[in-house]
Point group: C2
Chain length 251, copies 2
DNA sequence: GCATCGATTTGACTTGCGTCAATGTCCCCG
DNA sequence: CGGGGACATTGACGCAAGTCAAATCGATGC
């Protein structure tokens, strides 16, 4: 069932981990009264894994940021072919000021908590508070870079390289939490089903499965159960991904 | 030869067609003294078809917008595989405030004139003039939508659909200049070589050529010479593109 | 512990697009 | 007006990834 009731704000860190538009970064520059403006406007919604947050074309009168969990943005063709065009991780922003309807399906792939703002007051606040617009511009530019990196993957990489790239990106975003950079093994939990991976990578589910098996067979990764992956040598994985050594994503 | 000298600003329309960040749109909202601020800062550079404007990784101390002509943003893998990740048409903006180096190769595919601003003063002006940042945010969001549309194309469309989509998009952007919408034939000039098309669509040059021939054979398009294309029935082309009927791109 | 059901893996076969290699066409410039 | 060179088309063939189908795994409830 869809839970629209406001949750108790769970402040997990002293400086606003649960706030919109990567609030931690905004906070550093904001005046306190701007923050209190924010406080009055926000509300929380939570979703279970697999639930749809909003359908493409639906009226969308809020903007939001992910507090915990992972969501995807998906585009669908008339005949059902699907392509994931964005991953939303905690602190990522959804919604476009100045647009009435959602452009993509947004789906929770894990249990998900989002922090929402009604669009009208949010837009008003953007006008009143230049910092917020600037932060949003920075974030949008980062997303644009990520989308373009993904265009290279979709257009030019082999299935094996696509899988290696995806695992590397997930590992890197996990890792940024605190991880010895070079050499040591990395262990991650895949937040996506094989099907979701295939929709993100422009492959079929079977090809994803086969390539994961191949990487396992070749010792590039180890797999425990279905979702847990160990990367004994991260540089090896990067080589397999086809990116140049430091390769990759901002964020 | 690369021409770095400032050109005479060629004002082609009364309201600033040659100005940065879709200046026409900015103008409507700007105070005149903001405009005069802009006037002092800008300079022009022109390039011949095929010339590189800037290489990925190069220091980039300006931002710019396209005045006339077409340029591409390209990403390259170590082994030489290339993917075009953006098309720059007149009024499109290049460069990222707050970034030191170029993230992509920028190449002129036709003769090209760009209107440039040194980055530092431009950034200062953005702080002073919120409208500009807002406009830039809107434009970046449009580009992000376009990039995501392209991800669907790259990940899920067939070669034939890719070609049809590309022709439709070029036609639509040409057409927005003034064109009876429904039914009537549209005639366009392809601004890209077959190779550039292949790099944009994630195909090989041969496949591009074969699919153009197939669309010609099937009466979806007519081709005069190498570059001129007539579309007798635009709706037919849209069907072939795999997009839903109104399908498509903002901008 | 066992049945159940969705998620995943694996196998056999097909196919769309890539690769390699001629051949053809446009257009510029003398 | 007639080469020359870049750009484009066409053909033959191979392979990576898709399709269809059948096991197998793993969590969950009984």
């Amino acid at each position: 069932m869809q839970n629209t009731t406001a949750l108790e704000p769970k402040i997990t860190s002293p400086d606003c981990d649960d706030c919109p538009i990567r609030h931690r970064a905004v906070c550093a520059r904001c005046e306190s009264d701007e923050l209190s403006q924010l406080e009055g406007m926000k509300y929380y919604r939570s979703f279970e894994a697999g639930q749809t947050v909003i359908w493409s074309g639906d009226r969308m009168d809020f903007v939001a940021s992910v507090v915990t969990g992972i969501a995807t943005l998906t585009q669908t063709m008339e005949d059902g072919r699907r392509q994931i065009v964005g991953l939303l991780l905690p602190s990522d922003f959804v919604g476009r000021p100045g647009r009435e309807t959602a452009a993509y399906d947004v789906t929770a792939t894990t249990d998900l908590v989002m922090c929402c703002f009604r669009k009208k007051p949010f837009e008003a606040m953007m006008l009143a508070t230049p910092h917020i617009g600037q932060r949003l511009l920075e974030m949008t530019l980062d997303e644009l870079d990520a989308a373009r990196e993904w265009m290279l993957l979709l257009g030019r990489k082999t299935a094996r390289e696509k899988i290696a790239s995806l695992i590397a990106i997930i590992a890197r975003r996990h890792a940024s939490l605190a991880m010895p950079r070079k050499g040591s093994a990395v262990e991650i939990e895949l937040p996506l089903t094989r099907e979701a991976m295939s929709e993100y990578l422009g492959l079929t589910l079977e090809t994803v499965s086969r390539q994961i098996s191949a990487l396992k067979r070749d010792g590039v990764i180890e797999v425990q159960g279905k979702r847990r992956v160990t990367i004994p040598d991260f540089d090896r994985l990067l080589e397999e991904s086809g990116d140049d050594s430091d390769g990759g994503f901002p964020v």
